[in-house]
Symmetry: C2
Subunit: 196 residues, 2 copies
DNA sequence: CGCTTTACTTAACATAAGTCAACCAAAAGC
DNA sequence: GCTTTTGGTTGACTTATGTTAAGTAAAGCG
């Protein structure tokens, strides 16, 4: 598992032995079973997560209905402690599958940044990139129709369509499950037309 | 103008005199006239911006149609150089009004971070917060209908509705200008019903 | 000042998504 | 193994947005 974390970090900068050792010593890896709620709405979010394996999602309960707004799979990060300190979360965080996470918190990060200042630069660059990705996704969501969003999802994250229940994908696409069902049917029919 | 920048930065940490002087010496302020295109699709984005006054927007040209996806006004930041180096931008950046910006680039930032390492921490925290805000907005966009989005815009950024053309607001809300027109009409009629 | 362009509105119609309800299949629980 | 629950599909109908086109008012420009 640590191999995966180091492999990810070393895409940004090579690590010294003692840096790796320090990270290992922190013992940050956690196992969660499918369905586990990691963060519950109304609680204070203090941790950041990095997905080693599995899948987690953020969701809201709005008028009694569950609305899934994000999925995080292998090598993706979830920053939760950064909105405003001590402001309760408006969303939930739960495991779609059995999941292995790297879990950090502000005090761990503070100590690590003090000991290895260049990790702070790494995290700055990293969060800037996350922001850029997020903005690009948002732009795409704004400018596309639900059907286009689904097609794009099939292209960019085909694994999600396989591993995630469709009612969660539907709200992720900003629509109702019935509509997603119809979109899939429409697309299938179009493919069959072309095959003929 | 520098007062505004310092006031903003000092919400995060008090600045030393020499830090302020160093920033002043960098001479980062730029004036742009309404309509000026700051970054054009296909060009390499290398700069980051901070809005002192005025308003800028990002937009795409898709099938010959302009799609506005973001607005930035006083005290907001636009990070452009962070997706991947040397990858041409897919969007345009232009001034909705006469605008004053703080303009930085990677080499300025590199020098500044070397001279004042705590600026790197500031920027890390800052971009983490931007990310959190962006994610929250995205979640809200996913879970709301166009009408709800417009109502939320009226509440959270009432200035935008005044200073930005409606056809730009429409694509920002993920709809066509005609639909925004109808939403406004519907809401007006509802208000009149209540007043009676 | 008059003309052109642009932004916005409105209407009629087409299309896609929302709603409600029924149904089915697979999975989960007992 | 049977029952219950959950996830997914389908159909009929409602509602909202997209499309196309026309019209208007204001802004911009020569």
């Amino acid at each position: 598992m640590e191999k995966k974390l180091f492999a990810f970090l070393e895409k940004y900068m090579p690590l010294e032995k003692e840096e790796k050792q320090a990270i290992t010593d922190l013992d940050l890896f956690r196992n969660y079973k499918k369905g586990t709620v990691i963060l519950r709405e109304g609680h204070i979010a203090r941790e950041n997560y990095f997905v080693i394996s599995g899948c987690i999602r953020t969701y809201y309960i709005i008028d009694g209905e569950e609305k899934t707004t994000a999925f995080f799979t292998e090598f993706e990060s979830v920053l939760t402690n950064s909105i405003r300190k001590d402001k309760p979360a408006e969303y939930n965080l739960a495991c779609v599958e059995n999941t292995v996470l790297v879990v950090s918190n502000p005090s761990i990060e503070k100590l690590t940044f003090e000991k290895f200042p260049r990790f702070e630069k790494l995290c700055r660059i990293f969060s800037e990139q996350l922001l850029a990705k997020n903005q690009a996704s948002f732009d795409s969501f704004r400018t596309n129709t639900p059907e286009q969003r689904y097609i794009e999802l099939l292209e960019k994250r085909p694994d999600l369509v396989q591993r995630v229940p469709q009612y969660q994908l539907a709200s992720y696409l900003g629509i109702k499950p019935e509509s997603l069902s119809r979109i899939r049917k429409r697309l299938q029919e179009q493919v069959q037309q072309v095959v003929k």
